[in-house]
Subunit: 392 residues, 2 copies
């Protein structure tokens, strides 16, 4: 006979989920109401407005997809791409590769712009690909690559798409709430994110926003969207501004309580303050790790403050270090993905987890575990270096 | 500036979500751990085993899709149906129509077997459709139509599919945990359900199970599954029995705590006891409503104990009654859907909500509101009739 599950209290410094505020967990557990309850409809309107704030957009079609970020990605592709289309996909990590899968499963052709894992997307290469493919109708790229900790130039890439007359699809799963995501300023057309990164909400929800240009495109489609669940024309009937909301699917009510609370907290703090906090804790972590003798895997200008890729020193047993951190310190950091497996760690400082305590705990725990493994690190140097920057 | 949302405590007697146990809400709010945490992997194994218990199956590929029931439906169709296929779809309510949408969006042809809303699927008509379409590779039907409160003969329909050499896709969104769902005995091939009905978990998760025959079919597909998010070959890498779980998407960790707890409660009670409880409360509700002078919309042999369709008496203002129940009694009942809008109410007695208190509250609240509207009901007759059956 199975019994109730009591998880331990972890410190979540991997690539997400991140630590969640007790306020958000309390909201999550409030009594469920119906997905057509008038009070729930009001909550939906507030969530839309708060997501517009987070995305810095006035896009009317801004809502949380009722599924994880990979479904949010799919929502963007299946609504904007039709069979026979050509899509330029910029790939510099795992999620660019996933975009290619999405394009091909829509019956379209993906023209790949490849950059090395750990490097940002090359705007020049993307421009060349668009020039070579005048038929391309969409440019897709990842703003903040979760697999490598690299930021790309979203403003430049969205501008490129517009000049070409193409729509842009932008992955902001790891960026939203952690660094600037300026959907309107960029002129981005379809943007998706995740709940469990810098918003520090529970995993399972994917905020998306579509520009009026993207909505026009969706309304003029000749080929039905291949996913019924993700068809924005249908989803709009439930989330849209109409007085009467039409049932489409049962919304994940409690997850939306949690998302609402996490967005209320973001608004209370203010976007600028949240970005400044992410940057301060990132700089302190980097100073500490470098003082300890570790190296960052990404060049300084392209680093994501919320996801820090660290080179695993020669001779260190990756899995043993992560296991020791988890077992002894209840601290989760992320493994490298794909080409970077065994080569980097990914240390998240996302949302509620981006705080001075976590910076200090991570540095001291890593020092203890690496020191025991005989790694060439400077004992005692990391924490003071980090704390010097936290005191600012 | 938005502020925290505090929902009222409703009594959820609509078509789902249903009332949720405090045990499940407490589980939901436990600290989030990573989706690759070794302790979470253990939890996933327990959830699989508990879902096998609920579905009465030994199917290895049994897991919760990380999205609502309509995504579980789509998971079954996109994995089993390829472009050019023919699928016989039995429709006797909203969800049969949604199945047709799914088939067509897979590039396949739906042969419709139509029965009236409020009637069960005709096994004879389904047999005739299969005979007329020897090329049909799938038979799809809804076991428990949420839009009408009607049960169909799943055992007979699955047997029909097997005789024809076709796979069966079965919607058990409203049946699982409330009435018998015997996946192995039926020989059903792809079965999906929802978390927020008779399992009384939060909405947003869709348990699914695939027979070995369905898994073979998936593995031999020539055409890639059109949804990356719902591609079972990929999902299996994370949920499968392999020692090393491969990241596919970030699981909705907290929702799975809640699902686990709701399944633990189901196992503690025992399936047979849960079914008996649903039946007892249903009989009491029906006795009370009929004593009051109301009529059930579905013939007795086809009624779902967990979802009671009641004919709205002539001259009664549907929306006003439901609003009054919600505002004065915090009691939610369901409106009619589609062809039955304004003609029936749907009163759920699902999972944790199937209890004697809710039967009594619903009867007395309905009596008060209908009496005030001058509907032709017998005052004071409903509750004693219901209580006589609850005392058993």
């Amino acid at each position: 006979m199975a019994t109730s599950f009591y998880p331990p209290q972890r410190i979540l410094m991997g690539p997400g989920p991140s630590d969640i505020s007790p306020r958000v967990l309390a909201a999550l557990a409030r009594p469920t109401i119906g997905h057509l309850d008038p009070l729930f409809i009001q909550l939906m309107d507030e969530i839309k407005a708060l997501l517009q704030y987070a995305f810095q957009t006035s896009n009317e079609l801004t809502l949380p997809v009722s599924a994880p970020g990979s479904a949010g990605m799919e929502a963007c592709f299946v609504n904007l791409v039709s069979p026979g289309d050509t899509v330029v996909v910029c790939s510099n990590g795992v999620f660019g590769g996933r975009m290619k899968e999405n394009v091909e499963r829509c019956g379209a052709t993906a023209v790949m712009v490849e950059d090395a894992w750990g490097e940002p997307v090359s705007v020049d290469k993307a421009a060349a690909a668009l020039a070579a493919h005048p038929e391309a109708s969409v440019l897709a790229f990842v703003h903040a690559e979760t697999s490598t900790g690299v930021a790309s130039d979203a403003a430049a890439l969205c501008a490129l798409a517009r000049e070409h007359g193409a729509l842009s699809i932008v992955d902001t799963v790891t960026s939203l709430g952690g660094i600037e995501v300026k959907v309107d300023d960029w002129g981005a057309d379809a943007v998706y994110s995740g709940s469990q990164k810098c918003l520090s909400c529970v995993p399972g929800i994917s905020p998306v926003t579509f520009s009026p240009r993207a909505v026009d495109h969706i309304q003029q489609r000749k080929h039905k969207v291949q996913s019924w669940f993700l068809d924005m024309q249908l989803v709009m009937g439930y989330w849209g501004g109409a007085a009467k909301r039409a049932y489409h699917h049962t919304a994940p009510v409690n997850n939306l309580y949690a998302l609402h609370e996490s967005l209320v907290m973001l608004e209370e703090e203010g976007l600028e303050n949240a970005f400044a906090r992410h940057l301060r804790n990132h700089r302190a972590l980097v100073a500490g790790l470098e003082a300890m003798g570790l190296s960052m895997a990404v060049e300084a200008p392209h680093r994501l403050p919320q996801l820090n890729a660290v080179t695993i020193p020669e001779g260190v047993d990756d899995a043993a270090v992560r296991s020791a951190l988890l077992e002894e310190f209840s601290l989760e950091i992320g493994a490298g993905l794909g080409a970077l497996a065994g080569k980097t760690w990914r240390i998240g400082l996302m949302g509620y987890a981006s705080n001075a305590r976590n910076v200090g705990t991570c540095i001291t725990a890593l020092e203890a575990v690496l020191g025991r493994q005989g790694a060439p690190i400077k004992l005692g140097a990391g924490l003071p270096a980090a704390r010097a920057l936290l005191a600012d």
